[in-house]
Symmetry: C2
DNA sequence: AGCAGTTAGTTTGTACCTCGCACAAACTTA
DNA sequence: TAAGTTTGTGCGAGGTACAAACTAACTGCT
């Protein structure tokens, strides 16, 4: 029997494969799972289960993961010996009888994670324990239009101040940055509001100075990971984090994995179009979501409606004034949340994730803003029977979620948390 | 040491986990990879590599997959004995010297796959070989507003006519259907243009009559799988299939997997909003993409512009007339393709898949339509440095891609392939 | 107090999978 | 004809998960 080298029934103009070399270790696009890798994978998944569910006994973990108890013992024992995990006191089991379970969780004294949050003009650094605790926070400011060397100096100094407070060498450093990030190459592509960062190969720089694994990703993705780790996204397999403020952005958790396009692209929701030939956007196009759902829009409307101090209007203030009886505030809030809802609707129609965690300005509006947005989304979306859409705000300080998320980025790359 | 049952640093209003029970075998959300599953996974991946790359020798497969040659032998040998794969003649190797390679590929005489394409008013059935060949095509029509029993009778009859021509019992039956599909439960939720199908538990019905595994999914997802299998999506890890016609829809191939939301949701792109408070859509909302990029829009515009026979205007006709020098056709084509581009732009901003395969009406417009859409997308998207966006049309008959895709759906569920 | 019943965690042996090594087979080149 | 190269196949080693059987610890009933 003789095969044609390229089967005749394969049509289509595009050359097969070859274009995208993928991030695989080899050039191929299919990778088999090796036996040895299996151990690392399952080790990672057990840790993931602990992240998702908090302290759990071996037996519970076995049930959660659907494997034999002995398997869990084999996985966790070395980790206990390595002092990564600790065994808690026998907890009063909820079931009657039987030997009480010994819950396992991360050792608070295990090495920590370095985290950096880089926003236009400010640097925040901290240490994050595997238990989620945040320590040794440091802050600094930098000149957004200044000198690269000056920035690197400030960054190094701030980070050193934080890292020096660690008892042991951290597992690594995670950086969350505003702007457009190439997470594959570890460089900042562009940050509109901070030109000094343009093209900065930050991962290489930090790796060299601190001799630790360094990862970088963009701000919304860090929020996503933070949500997933200790926020409303905990244990969820599918949800999105949406950031609103001066700009809009998002990130997705899909089928138990952080979605990351080529070079860490994806989630640039601010410039999806919701109004063909609409208002001019900063990006030069028209009708971007950002032109109707970001703070600049809100403030322009506030000015038009003669609000006092329109430049300091926020969702939080609108909610407060509406609660105090201001009809104008209530109406503007309704329009604002409706405009925000459109972006979520388009996301829902596309990916149907069903669960959205809000950050940034609208999160300041708390439950009321979330509920308004939810109502608008429900009205605007084509629902399936029985489908429920959840909109939550992560009320905890922005910085903390993003910093935890930055730390979480390290973990997922360091520990092969997911296949 | 004593752990708090719910760590204090876990905030957020949403109850952790519990809500979504996920499709996992167990209730848990994390599943470890078991030893035995590993075999199945790797077997599937080897087959995947054959799908992606066509006939390959064991040594090539080993290189592609990054594993030892002996491993491939171990995986492949039982499949050859089962007559699923066959060894081809020693091919003239492209390298000099050495033992000539024996390429492996699917046995054309292996059991085939049953495929059904269900569109409003018509049923198409066929057999698909593992090599992609289509045989025993049968067609029938049914009354879209008729009786359920009558439909089932027609369906059974047509499918029987096709399946009876198979030499051996097929591996299973794959159904691609228009409308909203619950692929988890195997039911058709709604098909606007064919009310007779509403709520039909088609998988259960066919499974009972034919005693074969049956899977169902919606039309765009079948197109996606068809593209991936033998079309422009072959070997790609990330791309989208977009269907335009009376309605708009899409499906995504993300990180080497078909994206499928809860119960097979996702990809309902037609009702994403591109024009806030725009024209009224069939769905009752305003400004859906479908109101500006589907055939009804095109025909209304054609009528407004006094085109002859406006109700039979298609993209193909516009391209033809534009090529023949009609300025009016050229302008309408430009507006049409621009409107189509907006949906792709939003997809690109969201997921950044970079590669789009068009089906349906715009595919009829061929390379010219694809190029116009590509130009509009390029203009409307916020590009990253070095990013390239590919827009292709799958010129092959719609039916064939969808039918192959339907067959592919069976494979991915039956053989744990990750098509 | 004692025993049955139940659950947690461990020990031991088994089955399975991939890998590296060695080797035969088959072809090219000089 | 000999050397070199590549393909494909046994075989043992190493690692992983699983099942069965065991010990530990606690509850509840008699």
């Amino acid at each position: 029997m003789k095969f044609e080298s390229q089967p005749s029934y394969s049509l289509g103009q595009r050359s097969p494969a070859s274009r995208e070399v993928a991030a695989g270790e080899n050039g191929g696009n299919v990778t088999l799972v090796s036996q040895s890798a299996l151990g690392a994978i399952n080790r990672g998944r057990v840790l993931q289960a602990l992240y998702d569910n908090g302290p759990k006994s071996r037996a519970d973990l076995a049930r959660l993961a659907g494997v034999n108890r002995t398997t869990i013992t084999g996985i966790v024992q070395p980790m206990i010996e390595d002092q990564l995990l600790v065994e808690g006191d026998a907890s009063p089991s909820d079931v009657k009888g039987g030997k009480p379970a010994r819950p396992l969780y991360f050792n608070p004294d295990a090495p920590m994670l370095g985290a950096v949050l880089l926003l236009p003009g400010t640097i925040q650094t901290c240490l994050v324990a595997l238990t989620g605790e945040i320590k040794a926070v440091a802050k600094a400011e930098f000149d957004t239009h200044g000198d690269t060397e000056a920035f690197i100096a400030v960054m190094t100094e701030t980070l050193t101040a934080t890292l020096s407070q660690a008892q042991q060498a951290p597992f690594g450093i995670g950086v969350a940055s505003a702007g457009m990030i190439d997470s594959d190459n570890g460089t900042i592509l562009t940050v509109n509001l901070a030109p000094v960062l343009t093209g900065l190969p930050l991962v290489a720089i930090l790796q060299e100075r601190f001799s630790l694994p360094v990862v970088i990703d963009h701000h919304p993705r860090a929020l996503l990971v933070g949500d997933r780790w200790f926020g409303p996204g905990r244990g969820q397999q599918n949800f999105a984090a949406v950031y609103t403020g001066e700009v809009l952005g998002g990130a997705f958790f899909i089928d138990g994995k952080v979605y990351r396009g080529l070079a860490g692209s994806g989630g640039e929701l601010g410039h999806s179009v919701v109004q063909i030939d609409g208002a001019l956007c900063n990006c030069g196009k028209h009708g971007c979501w950002e032109t109707v759902a970001a703070l600049p829009w809100l403030r322009k409307q506030a000015a038009r409606l003669s609000f006092p101090h329109p430049k300091s209007v926020t969702c939080a203030r609108l909610v407060k004034e509406a609660d105090e009886g201001s009809k104008a505030a209530e109406e503007l809030l309704d329009r604002y949340t409706r405009n925000v809802a459109f972006g979520i609707v388009n996301l829902q129609q596309t990916l149907s994730l069903n669960s959205y965690v809000l950050h940034g300005d609208v999160a300041g509006g708390g439950l009321k803003a979330a509920e308004l947005i939810r109502q608008h989304v429900e009205q605007l979306v084509v629902k399936r029977p029985g489908q429920e859409i959840s909109i939550t705000v992560n009320g905890i300080g922005e910085g903390h979620t993003a910093l935890r998320g930055a730390a979480g980025l390290v973990l997922s790359s360091h520990l092969k948390l997911v296949i």
